[in-house]
């Protein structure tokens, strides 16, 4: 569906994208994972033909984003990171407006958006600007889908959204994918990578890795242990002073520890922590998660 070949984009002295290449297959749920400033939004603007790359080539469904931008816009639905519907139109008016712009009608494609739109339909006469955050998001998604696009692109739809609403939103994306629509989504939440079929990790304008979430985790190369003790903050500080330390990072109620040599000697490490007077030390070897892999790649 999408073929990106060595695109580079600079804004004055900042390089937003540095020779980025990857492909997204038809019908895939594909994630672009990376922190703010990694280049995700620039990338999406280029794919949606809203911004021109300095160099490189992007094809969407066999169409060139520069030459064939009109055709591409017809088959693409785009939900930008910032709410960009008309705040002074009602919910229903926004939906009708988008349907008309794309030369279709709400009625024709209603079945596609029904599950999402039915949540906000009771408020169809309310101005879009007066909706809550969650409802705005559902309306924006309905508007991006109303012309039944082949490709749906969502720029950080879950940023600043609570854990429960995030889960609901991903359920909606899975449903859209089942309708045969290719979904390309970006997120700064590492855990959401697990919900995609394939992902790229982006950081500082570059692609660090591309694979299935399981493939990314498999590539993790070090011993990884989880350590906890009564005083967690002091534990992190002491682990970082340990001679063989590579990283000691808090993960919820435990510390994930890796060594420079890659291997970890349990007895020596526990001895050291006991000498530093830690109580209730717990130590176990663990399997890495997706965030461990990201941290390994950027360190």
């Amino acid at each position: 569906m999408i073929n990106i070949f060595q695109i580079t984009k600079k804004y004055e002295s900042t390089t937003a994208l540095d020779s980025v290449s990857f492909q997204v297959d038809d019908g895939e749920l594909f994630g672009v994972i990376g922190p703010d400033g990694a280049g995700k939004t620039t990338l999406f603007r280029i794919i949606t033909s809203l911004l021109l790359p300095d160099s490189g080539k992007v094809m969407v469904n066999g169409l060139d984003v520069i030459k064939d931008y009109r055709e591409i816009r017809k088959i693409t639905g785009y939900m930008p990171g910032r709410f960009s519907l008309y705040q002074d139109l009602t919910v229903e008016e926004n939906l009708q407006f988008y349907a008309t712009v794309f030369g279709t009608s709400v009625k024709k494609n209603y079945d596609l958006i029904k599950d999402i739109y039915s949540h906000i339909e009771p408020f169809k006469n309310r101005l879009a600007g007066k909706l809550s955050g969650g409802m705005k998001q559902k309306l924006a998604l309905s508007c991006a889908l109303i012309h039944r696009p082949q490709l749906l692109i969502l720029d950080e739809p879950t940023t600043g959204v609570d854990a429960v609403s995030r889960k609901e939103f991903w359920d909606m994306l899975k449903k859209i994918q089942r309708e045969g629509i290719t979904v390309l989504v970006s997120t700064p939440y590492m855990d959401e990578a697990l919900l995609c079929e394939r992902v790229v990790f982006m950081e500082k304008a570059k692609i660090l890795a591309m694979d299935s979430p399981q493939g990314l985790i498999k590539a993790y190369s070090r011993d990884l242990v989880s350590v906890s003790a009564d005083d967690m903050h002091r534990l992190v500080v002491d682990l970082r002073k340990y001679p063989d330390v590579n990283s000691a990072l808090l993960f919820g109620h435990e510390v994930h520890y890796t060594s420079r040599s890659g291997r970890i000697n349990k007895d020596e490490l526990i001895n050291y922590l006991q000498k530093e007077r830690h109580n209730n030390i717990k130590f176990r070897k663990i399997k890495p998660g997706i965030e461990d892999r990201f941290l390994e790649l950027i360190s």
């Binding site: 990376g34 922190p35 703010d36 400033g37 990694a38 809550s132 955050g133 969650g134 950080e156 940023t159 600043g160 959204v161 609570d162 854990a163 429960v164 609403s165 995030r166 889960k167 700064p188 939440y189 590492m190 950081e203 967690m232 903050h233 992190v236 990072l249 808090l250 993960f251 919820g252 109620h253 965030e291 990201f294 941290l295 950027i298 360190s299």
Partner: protein, 242 residues
């Protein structure tokens, strides 16, 4: 924690907007040096409560005291005894690092000599010596957030409010940010923090979870996990907010 000094006391905190009850009789205490996590779904009423605690909005009813001052009559005293930082608003992008520090120092009422001393220490500590005369808009988000936090506590407030301080920040910087939070709390400043990252909820001494304007849970992460038979705070949150 009970032997420690109370820095926030809220009894029956209620805020209505017309018929809508944004905060419905909230009762909670926060102690000196505590890291207090304030969680809840979007629209649960967190921002409304924070605005009241910062002296920016007057509650409809309730007895609320922040840093020893009353939220109805002593809002100016509250403002000078707290620090505030959010993801959305922190520093002026068109001022330099150095200028931002000077500006906020002035706002917080510090003398020029004191500002200069603190500025030097702060810039060195954050490793921003070379960037000191660069515009805020040119420095990476992670550094910006660390700088914004340092500035928010520059006047040594009793409490610092952090409203989603780590949103969108990369996983390494996010953890470095929490190192700073621990450091500040150890020096005796209370940290009142909101976040959507549930692993960060584990780093708090106590966590308060709001739903539809009410407090539905308030305890240490360990107790919450035990009571809700959950492996981690994410499970607790999903069980409560559903």
């Amino acid at each position: 924690m009970n032997d420690k000094q109370l820095v926030i006391s809220a009894k029956g905190l209620t805020k209505k907007f017309g018929d809508f009850v944004a905060n419905d009789h909230l009762d909670f205490d926060v102690f000196q040096g505590e890291i207090f996590g304030f969680l809840g779904a979007n629209g649960a009423g967190k921002t409304t409560a924070i605005k009241i605690l910062c002296g920016l909005s007057i509650p409809t009813s309730g007895d609320i005291n922040v840093a020893g001052y009353d939220v109805y009559t002593e809002t100016e005293q509250i403002k000078s005894n707290i620090g505030y930082m959010s993801q959305r608003f922190s520093l002026y992008p068109d001022l330099t690092v150095s200028e931002n520090i000077r500006f906020y120092g002035g706002i917080y009422g510090l003398g020029w000599k004191e500002i200069k001393q603190k500025r030097k220490k702060l810039i060195e500590k954050l490793g921003l010596v070379e960037e000191r005369n660069g515009l805020i808009s040119d420095i990476p988000l992670g550094w910006k957030q660390k700088l914004a936090f340092s500035i928010a506590i520059m006047h040594e407030p009793k409490i610092v409010f952090l409203d989603e301080p780590t949103g969108g920040v990369d996983p390494v910087t996010r953890r470095m940010f929490w190192d700073m939070i621990y450091e500040v709390s150890e020096s005796g400043t209370t940290v009142f923090v909101t976040t959507h990252y549930m692993d960060e909820a584990e780093y708090c001494n106590r966590v308060c979870i709001m739903d539809e304007g009410k407090i539905v849970a308030l305890d240490t992460p360990e107790e919450l996990k035990r009571n809700y038979h959950a492996q981690n705070m994410n499970e607790v949150f999903i069980k409560i907010a559903r």
